[in-house]
């Protein structure tokens, strides 16, 4: 560059002394661009009625989860007793919304727990499992995928063989073993789900970054002298981020379903109420045979609503990541 200045042929020569004051405020600019992108995405997302309804549903569940202690009429894991004599409820109390004179909105379980309160508290477990598992699976999967895809070669081989190994692990037996070893606890279930779930995100992100890293704009950054981390964070990550969100939102629904399934086979946390453990209890007491449908239908509906909402939001987001679907 020194030579250029000597010959006076550079158009930048006069810029090289001192800083000019017309420098753009970077933070302000970045903030504004982010806001514009988010607004754009939000606009596209809420464009569709089904996505809008799903967002409302999820928001309602989140509110219920947050304010559970105020909404629930009883403690979810406290036995309810009948009348003055405080006798243990015989079989179950019928729901008061059906006209029964029991005082329990959705009746009680055979163990004497208030179903409505259990349902409200179960929202917390479902959202916690869904969100934490989704954030971690999407995060780990993206990181591993980016590193494997960018570096390729031996790094890629090692990471992808690990993913292959995880693909070989079936969901339920693995969770059974893990929960048996670590103890039946909601956190252990989340942990087991994360371990088994990041594999698919990692695969997809890897394939995406494999193709991205060969794109000319990455080459252009390399020519400009960009380092590995610069390329991964500035060029690859922003381009796979929509996919990460997509997998995250599918991950929420998937984790909730898996938790319900694991709880249903009796590996749930006995000290936490979740919709899955409610279903499991109703099966254990043969609620279906006795026609106590108010016990197992509400948690089933809740699981269905939340999972379908998750998938619909993911589906709506897919249209942003893949404009060809529109």
């Amino acid at each position: 560059m020194a030579q250029e200045e000597q010959t006076g042929r550079s158009i930048f020569t006069d810029l090289d002394d001192g800083t000019s004051d017309e420098e753009i405020n970077k933070w302000q600019r970045t903030f504004r661009l982010w806001r514009e992108t988010l607004r754009d995405h939000w606009g596209k997302l809420t464009d569709e009625l089904s996505v809008k309804l799903s967002l409302i549903t999820v928001a309602a569940f989140v509110l219920i989860g947050i304010f559970a202690p105020f909404i629930a009429t009883h403690e979810p894991l406290t036995r309810q007793y009948q009348g003055e004599a405080e006798i243990l409820i015989d079989k179950w109390a019928e729901p008061s919304i059906l006209g029964a004179d029991s005082g329990y909105i959705l009746g009680t379980t055979a163990e004497g727990f208030d179903i409505f309160s259990q349902l409200v508290y179960g929202t917390r477990a479902a959202l916690m499992v869904g969100l934490i598992a989704a954030v971690f699976t999407a995060g780990i999967g993206t990181l591993v995928g980016l590193v494997a895809g960018y570096y390729g070669g031996k790094v890629d081989d090692a990471l992808m063989r690990l993913v292959d190994f995880l693909y070989g692990m079936p969901l339920l037996p693995t969770v059974i073993v893990l929960v048996a070893v670590l103890g039946p606890n909601l956190w252990n279930i989340i942990f087991a789900l994360i371990i088994l779930q990041w594999r698919s995100t990692a695969r997809v992100i890897r394939s995406q970054s494999l193709s991205l890293r060969e794109r000319p704009f990455v080459k252009a950054a390399e020519v400009a002298g960009a380092g590995d981390w610069h390329i991964i964070s500035r060029h690859l990550a922003p381009n796979v981020l929509p996919l990460t969100f997509l997998y995250g939102s599918f991950g929420i629904a998937w984790a909730i379903l898996a938790e319900a399934g694991v709880s249903f086979i009796g590996l749930g946390d006995p000290n936490t109420v979740s919709w899955g453990t409610m279903l499991q209890a109703s099966r254990a007491y043969s609620a279906l045979q006795f026609g106590a449908w108010w016990w197992f239908v509400p948690p089933g509906i809740c699981i269905g609503l939340l999972v379908i909402s998750g998938f619909l939001i993911g589906r709506g987001y897919e249209e942003i990541t893949n404009p060809k679907l529109q």
Partner: protein
């Protein structure tokens, strides 16, 4: 044409790509003791780029011209050979020297739809090299570069994303990005082949202005000989990873010597139906770049094939005694000006068999 204004010297550059990558394949190979296959993309290319000069690399698809260009800006680590920049060998350069080289070597890519990150604004794209090299006056420089690339007013483009621009505008942004660091030389890989014909003239005159005003050296890579004739001071014609002929542009176009160059120039259509040109049409396909044939690489398609010399001896790129222009040709048809006799080697070879050829072309691990 003194030696000291040579900016870049490419010395017997080779780039071979390994075939069959993957650990199972290499494991099997090491068990069976087989040699891995290599694609000989660039196989011994030497040329120099002088300051302020424009050099054209021409040849058909797959002849290694893009790989050569990418090696020039260190996108590929050469398998063998070296590039000398400012009298420093790049293979021995320190990190600081390499960083300086990165600042002075830029590239313009073929496809403007792919060479700009779709999630970055024009401003960020052009400013990125400045950020990497920690150069101040970001805004002013970006503005200057965009205005030079005729994107005016520059502020209006700052916040636009590539998909909001037309193909021509995108290529201008790519040119602005290459120029913003004030480089010494630029490799332009088919800079206009993806653009509408109507936009080409504009971008080409911009590139022309860039060479003029920046005093840049530019390597144009293209298969379009009429473009190269318009843009370049010197031309090098490549075939299967080797330069077969190089020299001043007019010389090569008006008076091609190598049979391949003749065929290539003959293939350019002339917009005059009355011009009667002797057609030289090539037969057959480009040879196998994995299992390189012995002798001249062009021998199977050459209309002037002479027999055993062409089959056995690799013709070196050199001045020829019976061609008086300043032109290097790699062909046995002409007599070497440096006293090299291929027939001598032919006799020596028949005794020594082909074993020596194998060891010579065995590439380093890549």
């Amino acid at each position: 044409m003194s030696d000291d204004d040579v900016l870049l010297e490419v010395d017997n550059l080779k780039k071979h790509f390994k075939v069959n990558e993957g650990w199972i394949a290499s494991l099997l190979q090491s068990v069976s003791g087989g040699e891995p296959d290599y694609v000989h993309a660039v196989d011994g290319v030497s040329f120099e780029l002088r300051e302020g000069e424009t050099l054209g690399l021409a040849g058909e698809s797959g002849c290694g011209k893009t790989t050569t260009g990418m090696s020039l800006v260190k996108l590929h680590e050469p398998t063998a050979g070296d590039i000398e920049y400012d009298d420093k060998r790049l293979s021995e350069a320190s990190d600081a020297e390499l960083k300086e080289f990165r600042q002075n070597a830029q590239m313009i890519f073929q496809d403007p739809f792919e060479s700009l990150n779709p999630r970055m604004t024009v401003y960020d794209i052009v400013a990125e090299p400045l950020r990497i090299h920690d150069i101040r006056n970001e805004t002013a420089r970006v503005q200057r570069a965009l205005e030079f690339a005729e994107l005016e007013p520059a502020e209006q483009y700052f916040d636009q994303y590539p998909h909001e621009l037309s193909g021509g505008q995108r290529q201008r942004v790519a040119i602005a990005r290459a120029l913003v660091l004030d480089p010494d030389f630029i490799v332009a890989d088919e800079p206009v082949s993806m653009l509408d014909v109507s936009l080409r003239a504009g971008v080409l005159s911009l590139l022309d202005r860039m060479t003029e005003e920046f005093g840049l050296s530019v390597v144009y890579i293209s298969h379009d000989l009429s473009l190269l004739r318009h843009m370049c001071d010197r031309l090098a014609i490549m075939y299967m990873g080797k330069i077969v002929e190089k020299g001043p542009t007019d010389q090569i176009i008006e008076n091609p010597q190598h049979p391949y160059t003749q065929a290539l120039i003959n293939a350019v259509p002339v917009p005059d139906p009355d011009v009667g040109r002797e057609r030289v049409e090539l037969q057959g396909e480009v040879g196998d770049v994995i299992d390189i044939p012995t002798g001249c690489r062009f021998k199977d398609r050459c209309p002037k094939h002479m027999g055993e010399v062409c089959d056995k001896v690799v013709p070196p790129l050199e001045q020829k005694a019976d061609v008086d222009a300043d032109q290097d040709i790699a062909c046995h048809l002409f007599e070497s000006a440096e006293g090299y006799d291929p027939y001598e080697e032919l006799e020596g070879r028949s005794a020594a068999s082909d074993a020596s050829d194998d060891t010579e072309s065995a590439p380093a691990d890549d």
